[in-house]
C-alpha cells in the first residue's frame, strides 16, 4: 500500500453562498478524511474553515457530510472509498452555514437549555447517593453521547422542515429527557415536573416518526430510537393515551 492522489470536492462558502470546489490531494496509508482536510489546509487552502478537536472520535467536533452521509471526519477512513472515487465533503446541511465546513450549531445549545436539569432528591446529601448498576445502565448508555449533533443533523423533522425547529428538541435532547426520566434519583416528579408528559407537550416527541436515522448515524453506537425515543413514547402513552393508567391514577389519588 502506498500513497495516491484522490479527488475531493469540498464545499466552500458562507451564508451568502458558495459551492463545491475540486481538489487533487495526496492520500497516505491509514489516513482518515480529516487528515486530508488538514492536508488541504496546510498545502492548498490555509483558510479552509473546519472544526476539530481530539481526532479520536471522543469530542464530536468534526461532524460533516461525506458523500452525503453525516459522519465524523476523524472516524472515516479513506480506505472505505475506492481510489478513483470522488469524495464530496460538505458542512452539516440541517444547520445554518458559517463558513466552509463550519455550521452554526446554536440550535442544539438552545434546545439543551430547554430541558429542565437533573433535580437532586431532597434530604440526600453528597456522598449519600446510593444507586445500583442495573438502574444506572440505561441512562449511562445515553451519557455516552459526545454531542456531535449528527443525529440532530440527519433527523428529517428539522433537516427538511426548518419551521419544526421551535417545537422539536431533536433526538439528542429527547434522549436527554429519557436519560433524566430513567435516572434512579431524579426527583423532578416530586417537584411537579412530569418529564414523560413534557416530552410530548414541550419537546415535540410526537414529531418523531421513529425512522431511526439518528441511530444509524450515531458514532457512539447508542440505540437512540430503541432505547431512548421509543421507551419515552411509551412513557408518554402512560401519561396521555392510556385510559387504564389514567383511571388508575385518579383512583389512587382519591384513595391516598
Amino acid at each position: 500500500m502506498s500513497g495516491y492522489t484522490a479527488h475531493f470536492k469540498v464545499w466552500r462558502g458562507d451564508g451568502q453562498g458558495g459551492g463545491l470546489e475540486d481538489f487533487k490531494v495526496e492520500v497516505n496509508d491509514g489516513e482518515v478524511v480529516l487528515d486530508i482536510i488538514h492536508r488541504l489546509q496546510a498545502t492548498q487552502v490555509p483558510d479552509l474553515a473546519v472544526r476539530w478537536n481530539c481526532k479520536a472520535g471522543k469530542c464530536g467536533s468534526c461532524s460533516a457530510e461525506i458523500n452525503g452521509r453525516p459522519r465524523l471526519m476523524c472516524m472515516t477512513r479513506m480506505s472505505v472509498y475506492d481510489r478513483d472515487e470522488t469524495i464530496t465533503v460538505t458542512p452539516l446541511r440541517a444547520f445554518p452555514v458559517v463558513r466552509d465546513l463550519v455550521t452554526d450549531v446554536g440550535f442544539n445549545y438552545r434546545k439543551a437549555r430547554e430541558v429542565p436539569s437533573f433535580v437532586p432528591p431532597a434530604g440526600v446529601g453528597p456522598g449519600e447517593y446510593r444507586m445500583f448498576q442495573e438502574d444506572v445502565d440505561r441512562p449511562q448508555e445515553f451519557r455516552k453521547c459526545i454531542e456531535c449533533f449528527l443525529c440532530q443533523d440527519t433527523c428529517h423533522v428539522v433537516r427538511d422542515h426548518e419551521e419544526n425547529k421551535t417545537a422539536f428538541a431533536g433526538p439528542r435532547f429527547l434522549m436527554r429527557v429519557a436519560e433524566l426520566d430513567m435516572h434512579p434519583l431524579d426527583a423532578a416528579a416530586e417537584t411537579g415536573l412530569d418529564r414523560k408528559k413534557t416530552a410530548q407537550d414541550e419537546h415535540g416527541l410526537g414529531y418523531c416518526n421513529i425512522t431511526k436515522c439518528c441511530t444509524e448515524v450515531c458514532p457512539e453506537g447508542i440505540k437512540i430510537t430503541d432505547n431512548a425515543l421509543i421507551p419515552l413514547k411509551e412513557r408518554a402513552v402512560d401519561r396521555k393515551y392510556d385510559p387504564l393508567v389514567w383511571l388508575g391514577s385518579k383512583i389512587r389519588r382519591r384513595s391516598s
Partner: protein, 265 residues
C-alpha cells in the same frame, strides 16, 4: 433555490436534495416491494372466503372464525359470535387485530414511513413533503394505541397456538399425529410469539416503565429477555410475516387439493 429544508436560505448553498452516492434507494424499495406483495396476497386470501380449512389445519388468516358462514372445524376456534348477518369473509373480522398490531408497530412504522411515504426515503435524503407534523395529530397520533393492539395480539397468538396444538391430529381428528403442516404451523407460531413478545410496548410493560430495576428483580429479568428479542424486532417482523403467509398458503394448497399434506405418523 429556496424551497425549505436543506435548501433553505441559511444552509450551505447546495442544490442537490442529497449527495449520497450509495444505493440508498434499495432498502426502502425492497421494503415497499415486500410489504406490497404481502398486502396483495393477504387481500386476495382474506376476501377469498375459501380454501382456508383442511382438517386439521386452519389458516391463521381465518382463526378464530367468528361468523356463522365459517367452515365447521371440529374442536377448532370457531364461535358464531357474529351470527348469520355477517355475509362476507369471516377473515375480515379477525384480521383487523394483527393488522392493527403490525400497522402501529414501531418497526413497521419506520418501514412504511420510509418505503411508502418517503418521510424520509433514506437518511439525509430530502423528503418530498412541504409540511411535516409527524405523529402529533390525527390520524397518526393514533399510533400511540399500539399497546392495545399488543394486548389483542397476545390473544390472537394464543388462539394460533391452540390451532397449532390441533394440528397434532390427523384429518380424522385423531390425536397424536404429525404432518408437514404441523411443522409449518410450529415454525409459524414460534415466530408469531417471538415477534409479539419482542414488541416495544411489551418491553415497556414488562419492565421498561420502571425507574428502579433493582427493586423488581423478576421484571428486570423479563425486561432483559424481551430486550434481547427486541433487538431483532425487524427480523422477527419479516420472518413472522412470511411464515404466516406461508402457513396460510400451505393450508390453501392442501384445501384446494393442489397438494397432499405429507403425514409423518
Amino acid at each position: 433555490m429556496n424551497n425549505g429544508g436543506v435548501r433553505s436560505r441559511t444552509r450551505a448553498a447546495i442544490d442537490a436534495p442529497h449527495l449520497r452516492t450509495d444505493r440508498w434507494w434499495l432498502a426502502p424499495a425492497a421494503t415497499a416491494a415486500g410489504l406490497l406483495a404481502f398486502v396483495v396476497y393477504s387481500t386476495w386470501r382474506a376476501f377469498a372466503n375459501a380454501d382456508y380449512y383442511a382438517a386439521p389445519y386452519v389458516s391463521p388468516f381465518y382463526s378464530p372464525c367468528l361468523a356463522e358462514n365459517c367452515e365447521t372445524m371440529r374442536g377448532g376456534p370457531n364461535w358464531e359470535i357474529f351470527g348469520s348477518w355477517w355475509g362476507i369473509s369471516p377473515a375480515i373480522l379477525i384480521l383487523i387485530f394483527p393488522l392493527g398490531f403490525r400497522l402501529t408497530c414501531y418497526y413497521y412504522r419506520k418501514a412504511y414511513y420510509r418505503g411508502f411515504w418517503a418521510s424520509p426515503p433514506a437518511c439525509a435524503v430530502a423528503e418530498p413533503h412541504k409540511k411535516y407534523t409527524g405523529e402529533t395529530r390525527f390520524p397518526l397520533v393514533l399510533q400511540n394505541i399500539h399497546r392495545y393492539f399488543f394486548y389483542a395480539a397476545i390473544l390472537v397468538a394464543g388462539i394460533l397456538s391452540y390451532d397449532t396444538v390441533l394440528s397434532f391430529r390427523d384429518e380424522h381428528y385423531a390425536w397424536g399425529h404429525m404432518g408437514l403442516g404441523t411443522l409449518v404451523f410450529l415454525a409459524n407460531i414460534v415466530l408469531i410469539w417471538a415477534y409479539t413478545i419482542s414488541c416495544h410496548s411489551c418491553r415497556h410493560i414488562v419492565g421498561g416503565k420502571l425507574k428502579h430495576f433493582s427493586r423488581h428483580p423478576v421484571r428486570y429479568r423479563m425486561w432483559q429477555f424481551v430486550g434481547k428479542l427486541n433487538a431483532r424486532h425487524m427480523l422477527l417482523a419479516w420472518a413472522s410475516l412470511v411464515s404466516v403467509a406461508l402457513a396460510d398458503f400451505y393450508v390453501y394448497l392442501v384445501a384446494s387439493g393442489v397438494f397432499d399434506d405429507p403425514r409423518f405418523f
